[in-house]
């Protein structure tokens, strides 16, 4: 057992004391896609005390190229990513307390999840949820690490409430959905590079070596051989509604929350019922089978295939409608089969 972290304890930045701190800390990883699986594996191997990972999706074949915790069997079984991730992470390090939630993170969920967390790793795929993370992190004074990648390009920034600018300061306007969708693909080294930055920053925070933090906005393009680091201290705005002196946390306003979302580059719409519920999947499978179409079920979700679409219904009531980007068409299907 004492051998397990010996190489990390030999590293001056961490040492025995740092390792003890890492082992007593809690990291929240939001998203279990490419970035989330990379960060979670590195942190669990590093011996973090507790790791919580949340994701709203399930494993598909196109994930296996870069989402390192998943195997073919997970795609075959359509396991929720959070469940498959937990299985693999527990096998890697049984000493770590691993919590996994199959859920779509919005304000309410995040405010609960962030409680007692030492650092949040952003492994999401959209700015709607990042802006919520931003405001919850400011409100509860938790550091978080923005990270994103597309193609061979990646970008990351560590946000320390009360010190650095927040994401709202940096963006001013939130990028539109279409702009951020990964329609140009992604190579896994770009993922790994962002993961390396995020995990290293997280380790510095966990061992409380704040002076070592990078403090710059960094981006790279591995294919074009570019690397940029910009000091953005001056971008912090006193007038910022998320981190300034008259803050109102606009992204936590329930009015601004969407019940439907088009999933990036996936030809899929998610519909979130206004009240989360626990669906009886067995009964649902029977009802759907009676309406024709092919029904499959595992303990976490039901998959229902009609002529042109596939509906995936989760236990918490959420439904993914594959085969459309059109919210009104998705709603029609939702009410036809599940209304």
């Amino acid at each position: 057992m004492s051998e397990r972290y010996s190489r990390q304890e030999l590293f001056t930045g961490i040492g025995l004391e740092g390792q003890r701190k890492i082992g007593s800390k809690h990291v929240l990883v939001i998203g279990a896609g490419a970035l989330g699986t990379g960060s979670a594996e590195a942190l669990v191997r590093a011996g973090v005390g507790k790791l919580t990972i949340v994701d709203r999706d399930y494993v598909e074949w196109s994930n296996l190229q870069r989402q390192q915790l998943y195997a073919e069997s997970d795609a075959l079984d359509r396991l929720p990513k959070a469940v498959a991730a937990k299985n693999r992470l527990s096998a890697i390090n049984s000493d770590v307390d691993i919590m996994a939630h199959v859920m779509d993170v919005s304000v309410e969920e995040l405010e609960q999840l962030v409680d007692d967390v030492d650092v949040v790793i952003d492994a999401t795929d959209n700015f709607d949820v990042r802006m919520i993370i931003n405001d919850v992190a400011q409100k509860q004074k938790v550091p978080w690490i923005y990270g994103a990648c597309v193609g061979s390009y990646g970008v990351t920034f560590t946000i320390l409430p009360g010190e650095t600018p927040c994401l709202a300061c940096l963006l001013e306007t939130v990028p539109m959905g279409g702009m951020t969708c990964d329609t140009v693909g992604i190579i896994s080294p770009a993922v790994q590079m962002v993961v390396s930055y995020q995990v290293t920053e997280a380790l510095k925070i966990l061992v409380e070596d704040y002076d070592a933090l990078r403090k710059k906005l960094v981006s790279f393009d591995l294919w074009k051989n570019e690397h940029v680091a910009i000091n953005v201290d001056k971008i912090k705005k006193e007038s910022c509604l998320s981190c300034g002196k008259d803050r109102t946390y606009p992204n936590l306003d329930r009015k601004n929350q969407t019940k439907t979302a088009v999933l990036c580059g996936r030809d899929t719409v998610q519909i979130r019922p206004s009240k989360l519920m626990e669906r009886d999947l067995e009964q649902l499978a029977t009802v759907l089978a009676a309406q024709g179409g092919k029904v499959d079920r595992n303990p976490y979700l039901v998959s229902f295939i009609t002529d042109d679409h596939r509906l995936v219904i989760f236990k918490d009531g959420r439904v993914l409608i594959h085969g459309t980007k059109d919210i009104s068409e998705a709603k029609t299907l939702y009410y036809r089969y599940l209304g």
Binding site: A123, G147, A148, C149, V150, Y153, L170, E172, T180, S219
Partner: protein
Amino acid sequence: MNVIVNGEHVEIPKNVATVSNLLQHFELDQKVVIVEWNATILEKADHQETRVSDGDRIEIVHFVGGG
């Protein structure tokens, strides 16, 4: 005109007069970006007025959403 963008020397056409033009030239005008111009970080409102001259050193980071 020759400027240094993200560490690389690049030749840009004469009609690129401002930082806004430069972002259009690199097809980054529809993206959310942070621009550092000769070691000074620019407010987004300054992109229009900031003139680009020969030898300028410009760093551009654009935000993406994928993960």
